[in-house]
């Protein structure tokens, strides 16, 4: 047994006392989303007014706690007062006075700031009664939105560093790896490689210098779970890294964070400094022989750096280009030394597994995919935001229960999952339990967990073009099939959305897709054709409509739009003719006008200009 120079339970008690002394805690979300919605102003107003409030409850003072992301970004700014069992949504600085006067002073909740369920139309008071939260199981996001992300005490009161103390006290690195292996945790960054096995491979090279690297290069457009963990509960990530370091015998670590996440970088830096001051990071942690330093490396905007060998190259200051494996990073990684690379969400699960046990963790999920998974639920759904559910939850539960269904009463069309590496799921997959293996079978992948919901107004071919544009742009250029193949696939897709496609293009697309998949070194190229292949599989008729009928069923592709003037509504005001930049509209005053389709560029300027809504887009 290792002897620690601190007693973590005592530290927790102290931390809890300092929180109790805060009086009435008013949690104001201060994540990137809520800051954009004005959360800093809401906080400022609370602080201004909060100084001399006599409060209804027994508490004698009020503390404003800026927290990390609650996940329910669209309803921001979120204000939660746990002691009063209340959650307010869409709070503006001007609403703060009323919250204090009416609710905090006089016990009368402000009804107009409550969340209205899109299903029942009723106002919801308690956080846990909001359907968005009610069906979630939050593990890695457990503390996000509940604690002040810039206070180590608040984290400690919520068991931060207790798992680290436990493993240091037991002083048996192999037992830690056993536990992670037993839990069934798989990499949350995309591939789903068993985490415990990765740790064991790296630990096998123990002896010299080795590294832990945390992959925080959350590049998948539409995913922001890692950002939320780094912003909302940074100590959980640091603790997970330290435990990993102890298990594999590393004393140094890097967190590679996208430069697009400045707030995450700021809060991680604060957290590292605080942990070092307490002796939870740095030299001789908690008085043991174990030392562990964590550095932050900022990315510079390259999607391919999410691939582990490219990420290593980027940390070394080079172009982020992948290299062949083997050698695997576990043998030869950062600066040529054995390196363990895990993603943010994976590492954030580690302390919880150590504390609650592998059995508890594996009680969630399916046979092959254990635990919970975060998904970024976005697009045309009523409740957008960040959710965490057990593996195996169905798409229907996520979209229709947690997500509250499709916006504006429209029809569900598809979900794009896994970003540019993933694929589309359709109505027939609504009841499929979502886990690593089922999704791969359906031609998609969990990826980092971006879930973009699309309705009948989304053009699937355009979405495929969008992703191909993305991967073509982000291809590092090392492998010719990826560099040239994605370019040519994009060209074909652009041709199709312009209405110039031919049926044989679909075969060429499939042929190229295979070549890119087979001929590329890294995950980017191997998965780049997925969005095209899966949409070709499930929505071939839409491709055909673009090619044969020169028609975009969703009415999105501008080249396939026709703009017409409805004779009966046109008053002949001539405004459209004067607005048209290409002189495609002709007619005389007080007589209906006409559009010359051969000249029309479908810019839509006339649509906006017509005061009588006589111009329509077909």
């Amino acid at each position: 047994m290792g002897t620690l120079n601190i007693n973590i339970q005592d530290e927790q008690k102290k931390a809890q006392e300092s929180i109790d002394a805060q009086g009435l805690r008013v949690l104001v979300c201060n994540g990137t989303g809520c800051i954009a919605n004005g959360s800093n102003d809401v906080i400022a107003r609370f602080k201004e007014l909060g100084a001399d409030v006599s409060i209804l409850t027994q508490k004698d003072k009020m503390t404003i706690v800026p927290t990390g992301c609650h996940g329910f970004c669209e309803q921001g700014v979120l204000v939660i007062i746990p002691d009063l069992d209340i959650t307010y949504v869409k709070v503006k600085p001007a609403d703060v006075d009323e919250i204090i006067d009416s609710h905090i002073k006089n016990g009368k909740p402000v009804e107009r700031l409550l969340y209205i369920s899109p299903k029942t139309g009723e106002a919801v008071h308690k956080n846990e009664d909001i359907e968005f939260y009610a069906r979630q199981s939050r593990t890695s996001l457990g503390n996000c939105g509940k604690i002040n992300a810039e206070s180590i005490d608040e984290a400690i009161a919520k068991h931060a560093y207790e798992a680290l103390a436990k493993v240091l006290e037991q002083n048996n690195p192999d037992a830690v790896i056993d536990e992670i292996e037993k839990s069934g945790l798989r990499g949350r960054g995309g591939g789903g490689f068993p985490t415990g096995r990765k740790w064991r491979f790296t630990a096998a090279n123990k002896g010299g210098k080795s590294y832990v690297v945390c992959n925080g290069d959350e590049g998948d457009p539409g995913a922001f779970m890692d950002r939320s963990v780094m912003e909302g509960d940074p100590h959980k990530l640091l603790e997970g890294m330290a435990i990993a370091g102890f298990a594999i015998g590393a004393d140094e670590a890097y967190i590679y964070v996208r430069a697009e996440y400045p707030l995450a970088i700021k809060r991680l830096k604060i957290a590292i400094k605080q942990a070092e001051e307490r002796g939870y990071l740095g030299k001789n942690i908690m008085g043991t022989d174990f030392s562990f330093d964590i550095h932050i490396k900022e990315g510079a905007g390259a999607f391919v750096c999410g691939e582990e060998t490219a990420l290593i190259a980027s940390i070394e200051g080079e172009r982020g280009m992948p290299r062949p494996k083997p050698p695997f990073p576990a043998n030869k990684g950062l600066f040529g030394r054995p390196t363990l690379i895990n993603n943010v969400e994976t590492l954030a699960n580690v302390p919880v597994i150590i504390l609650n046990g592998a059995e508890w963790f594996s009680s969630f999920g399916t046979t092959t995919s254990k635990g919970t998974k975060t998904f970024a639920l976005t697009g045309e759904v009523n409740n957008t935001g960040l959710i965490e559910v057990p593996m195996g939850t169905t798409l229907r539960e996520i979209v229709f229960d947690i997500g509250g269904g499709i916006r504006n009463g429209k029809k569900f069309k598809a979900v794009q999952i896994g970003g540019p590496s993933g694929g589309c799921l359709t109505e027939e997959h609504l009841d499929l339990p979502m886990d690593y293996d089922n999704l791969v079978k359906a031609g998609a992948m969990v990826g980092s967990g971006g879930l973009v919901v699309m309705n009948e107004d989304t053009c699937i071919v355009e979405v495929a073009r969008f992703f191909m544009h993305f991967t073509q742009n982000e291809s590092c250029g090392k492998c010719v099939p990826c560099r040239e193949g994605t370019k040519n696939m994009l060209k074909i897709l652009e041709k199709i959305v312009r209405g110039q496609g031919e049926m044989k293009d679909l075969d060429t697309l499939e042929e190229l897709a295979l070549a890119v998949k087979e001929g590329s070194l890294c995950g980017l190229g191997k998965t780049a054709p997925n969005p095209v292949l899966s949409t070709l599989k499930y929505f071939r008729d839409e491709y055909i409509a673009h090619i044969k009928d020169k028609r975009c069923p969703a009415g999105v592709c501008s080249a396939l739009k026709t703009i017409v003037i409805e004779e009966e509504n046109c008053k002949g005001c001539t405004k459209c003719a004067r607005t048209c930049p290409v002189g495609a509209i002709s007619g005389t005053v007080k007589n209906p006008h006409k559009i010359d389709q051969s000249k029309c560029i479908k810019c839509g300027a006339c649509l906006a200009a017509c005061p009588f809504k006589a111009i329509k887009q077909a």
């Binding site: 989303g33 996440y261 970024a376 976005t378 697009g379 590092c476």
Partner: protein
């Protein structure tokens, strides 16, 4: 648009940045980020200088790294950098009309991103992670949620008015 000439560069500034990163090759990306912060872009002279000052590094390698990452610009950027998020969530909710309206407003043809007066640079980014608020636009560090072409027009008008007042 002015590009810096050798004599106009504050070389002391460059040296102090290099020094704070210990002239280390593995810090090259961080060094370039600091240079860009200081000069609003990466002037060629400075890249060459870095390539000769750091051990085991050549100007060609520095140029290679600078052109690899989307964050780096080899041309001066505008005073206001308008980043239109075009991640999947923003794209599905209409980021492109906002972007196109900005390009039109500043008269930016394909391949040009900075307005002639050097005030605005308009670019897309792949995802800012604020997907719940799509579509999102970031101007310098400030995030504007749920953008429309009309809202964008008002925001740009406000900036221009502030610029006029000085």
């Amino acid at each position: 648009m002015t590009t810096s000439t050798r004599s106009s560069v504050d070389w002391q500034k460059v040296d102090s940045i290099l020094e704070s990163y210990e002239y280390k090759k593995s810090n090259l990306i961080a060094i370039l980020q600091r240079i860009q912060e200081e000069f609003r872009y990466l002037p060629e002279d400075i890249m060459t200088y870095i390539g000769t000052k750091i051990k085991d590094l050549s100007p060609a390698t520095v140029y290679g790294v600078a052109t690899f990452y989307a964050q780096f610009s080899l041309e001066p950027k505008g005073k206001y950098v308008v980043k239109c998020c075009d991640g999947t969530a923003c794209h599905v909710r209409g980021s492109m009309p906002v972007y196109t309206s900005l390009k039109q407003r500043f008269g930016l043809e394909d391949g040009s991103f900075t307005s002639k007066d050097g005030l605005f640079t308009v670019e897309t980014v792949s995802c800012l992670g604020a997907c719940g608020l799509a579509p999102v636009v970031v101007i310098n560090e400030k995030v504007y949620p749920q953008m429309t072409t009309d809202a964008m027009k008002i925001i740009i008008d406000t900036i221009l008015a502030e610029e006029k007042e000085g």
